[in-house]
Amino acid sequence: MMEQMADPLASEQRETIELSFPAQPGLVVLARFAAATMAARAGFDVEEIEDLRLAVDELCVSFGPMSEDGCVRMELDRDHDTVSIVGSFEPFARPRAVGQERTDSSWEKAAELSELLLDSLVDDHGRENRNGKSVAWLRKRRASTR
């Protein structure tokens, strides 16, 4: 019978990563990296890690075209086997209202596709406008615990 190795992270059941970066498309990779790291620490399998990487990318997509006019802030929380991510787009100047940031039809199409992906990839997700800030969130639980 195979012996189960002790999980060195078992005592660290909760942790938070805070991430903040200029709203530039090329920096979204940082969010994917942070999400994948946290998912791995929560014991997600490879497919679930990939799901979360894509989901956090879609969460950034929900902020609309990134043109260095603001800052993306994220808080990634792990509570045992669940990863929750809350992201916000904070404009440097004039606030953008939710739904007004998409400027062309490809963004509209992407928004539809993004919604389908998030529905499938995570357990819960949503977005709202809080005091002029676009806020989006998602939560994913490890499959073996569902």
Partner: protein, 129 residues
């Protein structure tokens, strides 16, 4: 602010074939849209997008491909995807597009092309402006 490329995606364009490599995300999408638009303007209505070396595709990049597909079909052509990566196939499946695109599983489907970059193809590394 960083101005170094941090996203690994890039594309190579040669004739009606666009080869995408690495992570195709919102950093790559604008260049991809521009490139596909140029091919359409040049009169290519059958376009092939080689995703065999792509490892990631998000909704923005997919939206660009859908837009190009619609334009190809409006011109009487098609946009073909060459893809075997399970993660990308899954994205197509989740979004209900796996039956919308013409999907091939090998480069045999591509029109005879040399991928030698000395022969006039353009290679674009995606960098963060």
């Amino acid at each position: 602010m960083l101005d170094q490329p941090v996203s690994g995606g890039r594309f190579i364009s040669e004739g009606p074939v666009v080869t995408l490599e690495g992570e195709i995300d919102l950093a790559v999408a604008p260049s991809l849209r521009e490139n596909l638009g140029r091919l359409l303007e040049e009169g290519h209505c059958d376009i092939f997008v080689d995703l065999l070396d792509a490892t990631f595709l998000d909704s923005i990049a997919l939206g660009v491909l859908v837009g190009a597909l619609e334009q190809c079909r409006a011109s009487g052509g098609d946009l073909h995807l060459v893809v075997t990566e399970p993660r990308i196939l899954r994205v197509l499946e989740i979004t209900g597009l796996s039956n919308t695109f013409t999907i091939h599983s090998s480069r045999d489907a591509l029109p005879g092309q040399s991928f030698n970059n000395d022969s006039g193809s353009s290679v674009e590394e995606v960098s963060q402006k």
